[in-house]
């Protein structure tokens, strides 16, 4: 058993894991040819959005160990840059394609904001950073409300309603594939090793000659860039944004939970966590009197108490993934 688990872990880290991922992407790319409805495509793109968000959060929250309780601020900035560009800018070629032009700008704006806010806040250790980001998030929601000439204030912005579920599906598939592949790459690269070193012992990493500030800022900007792109995409496909639907705490909560459930700092954990939580939400507890967030909150408490490394986390003592160890502990306790 132990050897099989070891192999599995190696496969995840190695080229095999990436190969499997690309196979899965190829299968997903062919899936619409089997004859699907728009609903299926829409559900697919929603799951891809969640996987992308969770992977991004994991880069800063999981690998670098800076728990970002306000990451949805980048989503919001992306969404608003998209909204402002497609409604107010004359530069775009056409409503159908202008959005593709605006998408990288959404990401870039989020990344620049990450640089500006990250330079001071990433100096803060541990909980100070978390709370600074939470404050940034809430402050940004109020600031967007006050900047009425640009953002439409609390009234929000209407985007041109050009819906293309098939295009959305492929766009998000590509983005998700790209983001997860980049995470895999980062995890293996020296850059990723440095991030992990920062998480484990920042002062030690500094003394070993790692420029911790540079690493943290870069990780933060990458995570913000793709979150901003997803925000821009969301604004486009929802066709309407206002401060309350865009800057919503739930989105950060979901990113944190998906990463935690799957395994903080792992490559494949956040995608797995995203899928599990989406299925739980829409199939299981979504039908039970709207208990989605209550269930997420309780799940978070239980995870901290019993499974802090998530399903695929391996950073603890002993071999194997943490869920296997948890099972072992339960068995040991039940027959003394």
């Amino acid at each position: 058993m132990a050897r099989v688990r070891g192999r599995l872990a190696q496969l995840g880290q190695g080229w095999g894991g990436l190969g499997l991922w690309w196979l899965l992407l190829a299968a997903l790319a062919l899936y619409p040819y089997t004859g699907v409805t728009h609903l299926t495509l829409f559900l697919g793109s929603q799951v891809f959005v969640l996987v992308t968000l969770a992977s991004n959060w994991n880069l800063i929250g999981g690998m670098t160990g800076y728990v970002d309780f306000g990451h949805a601020v980048f989503f919001g900035i992306g969404a608003y840059v998209m909204g402002i560009l497609v409604t107010k800018s004359p530069l775009l070629v056409s409503p159908e394609w202008g959005f593709l032009q605006a998408l990288p700008v959404s990401g870039a704006a989020a990344a620049i904001f990450a640089l500006l806010i990250g330079l001071p806040t990433l100096r803060l250790k541990g909980p100070y950073f978390s709370i600074a980001m939470l404050g940034t998030f809430v402050a940004m929601r109020e600031i967007v409300r006050v900047l009425r000439p640009l953002t439409g204030g609390g009234v929000g912005l209407n985007l041109p309603p050009v819906l293309n579920r098939l295009g959305d599906y492929y766009l998000m598939l590509v983005l998700m594939g790209l983001v997860v592949s980049i995470m895999w790459w980062i995890r293996r690269s020296e850059f990723g090793q440095s991030l992990i070193a920062i998480r484990e012992d920042e002062i030690g990493a500094e003394m070993r000659g790692i420029n911790t500030t540079l690493h943290k800022i870069l990780a933060f900007m990458i995570a913000a860039f793709f979150t901003g792109v997803v925000g821009g995409f969301w604004a486009w496909q929802n066709t309407f944004i206002d401060p309350d639907v865009v800057f919503i705490e739930t989105r950060t909560v979901e990113m944190v939970m998906m990463s935690m459930l799957g395994g903080l700092g792992t490559v494949w954990g956040p995608p797995l966590g995203a899928v599990v939580i989406y299925v739980l939400q829409t199939v299981v507890w979504g039908r039970l009197f709207g208990i989605h967030l209550l269930a997420l909150g309780i799940l978070m408490v239980l995870l901290v108490l019993f499974l802090p490394e998530g399903i695929l986390g391996t950073s603890g003592r002993g071999g194997g993934t943490s869920i296997v160890r948890l099972w072992g502990r339960i068995r040991k306790r039940s027959d003394p």
């Binding site: 997420l296 309780i298 408490v301």
Partner: protein, 296 residues
């Protein structure tokens, strides 16, 4: 001049409430090194208790404090014993995540129980008294008085009682306190009980002045953090000072900025929070200590 004076008085009254609202947050942080992200939810529970007792038993929210304090002490004691004590000595990340989880679970539990409809407590003696040309709102003045009483009570408890002394000892040095044979778990549970009771009492005091709804918590948690950062950790005069600074700032902005003043007043405390964290993470007066036990 009269207008400025009036706004100053309103700000002071608000500041008194902020001070009592922040006490529990600041003491839990000072003693256990936990930043309690569920703080606003304890206020929310207190406010709902105040509303329930008023609505169904006709109890005045200030009289109801006598019932809410022991009830929420018990709640805090049990919560600490069952959940938080298990992670106090783990990395700070865990305590942040667990209190974040508790905050989401509580807010949504109350949403399911009471729907998200705002609730109100309308006391009959709402009104104002004019004194020296300045209008004093009656309810807010009572809150100010009750807040001062609560702070005095906590101060005496921490300084004079045996339990208060062991709480202070645990705050100063956990290991040493354990060596001399203190039951740290119990001390922590009592601390949490007292803090959560006072917080819920503050929530109940709040109930006659504003709407009560399940998601009122997070902004209050952030305000608590801002005030702690302004006034320092675990010190009662500091809490009062931080509360008054924030209260006066908010009132002045919403009173004198035309058009969007109230919006800015709401935003201002979050902006202050981010600015303080960036410029002086150790707090305006210093003394915010690191909460990571590994760093001690």
């Amino acid at each position: 001049m009269d207008q400025v004076l009036q706004a100053l008085v309103n700000g002071l009254l608000l500041g008194g409430f902020y001070a009592v609202m922040v006490l529990g947050f600041s003491v839990i942080w000072g003693v256990m090194g936990i930043i309690n992200l569920a703080h606003g939810e304890y206020l929310m529970i207190g406010a709902y208790l105040g509303w329930g007792l008023f609505r169904y038993f006709g109890m005045d929210p200030f009289a109801a404090l006598l019932l809410i304090l022991p009830l929420m002490f018990l709640f805090g004691y049990v919560l600490q014993y069952v959940l938080i004590n298990r992670i106090v000595e783990r990395p700070h990340l865990m305590s942040l995540l667990i209190t974040f989880g508790i905050s989401i679970a509580l807010a949504n539990l109350f949403k399911i129980l009471f729907t998200s409809d705002p609730r109100n407590v309308s006391v009959t003696y709402n009104g104002s008294v004019e004194l020296l040309g300045i209008t004093f709102p009656i309810v807010k003045s009572i809150i100010f008085g009750a807040a001062l009483l609560c702070m005095l009570g906590l101060h005496l408890f921490l300084q004079r009682s045996r339990m208060g002394k062991s709480i202070r000892a645990a705050a100063q040095n956990r290991t040493a306190a354990r060596i001399v044979g203190m039951d740290i778990n119990r001390t922590y549970a009592v601390t949490a009980g007292i803090c959560i009771a006072i917080t819920a009492a503050a929530g109940a005091m709040l109930s006659p002045t504003q709407a009560i709804f399940p998601f009122m918590g997070p902004p209050l948690t952030l305000k608590a953090y801002t005030i702690t950062a302004l006034g320092g950790l675990g010190r009662i005069p500091g809490a009062l000072m931080g509360g008054v600074v924030l209260g006066v700032t908010e009132t002045m902005v919403s009173r004198f900025v035309p058009g969007i003043g109230t919006n800015l007043g709401v935003a201002i405390s979050f902006v202050i929070l981010v600015l303080i964290l960036i410029l002086r993470p150790q707090g305006l007066l210093g003394g915010l200590r690191p909460v990571d036990p590994e760093a001690e």
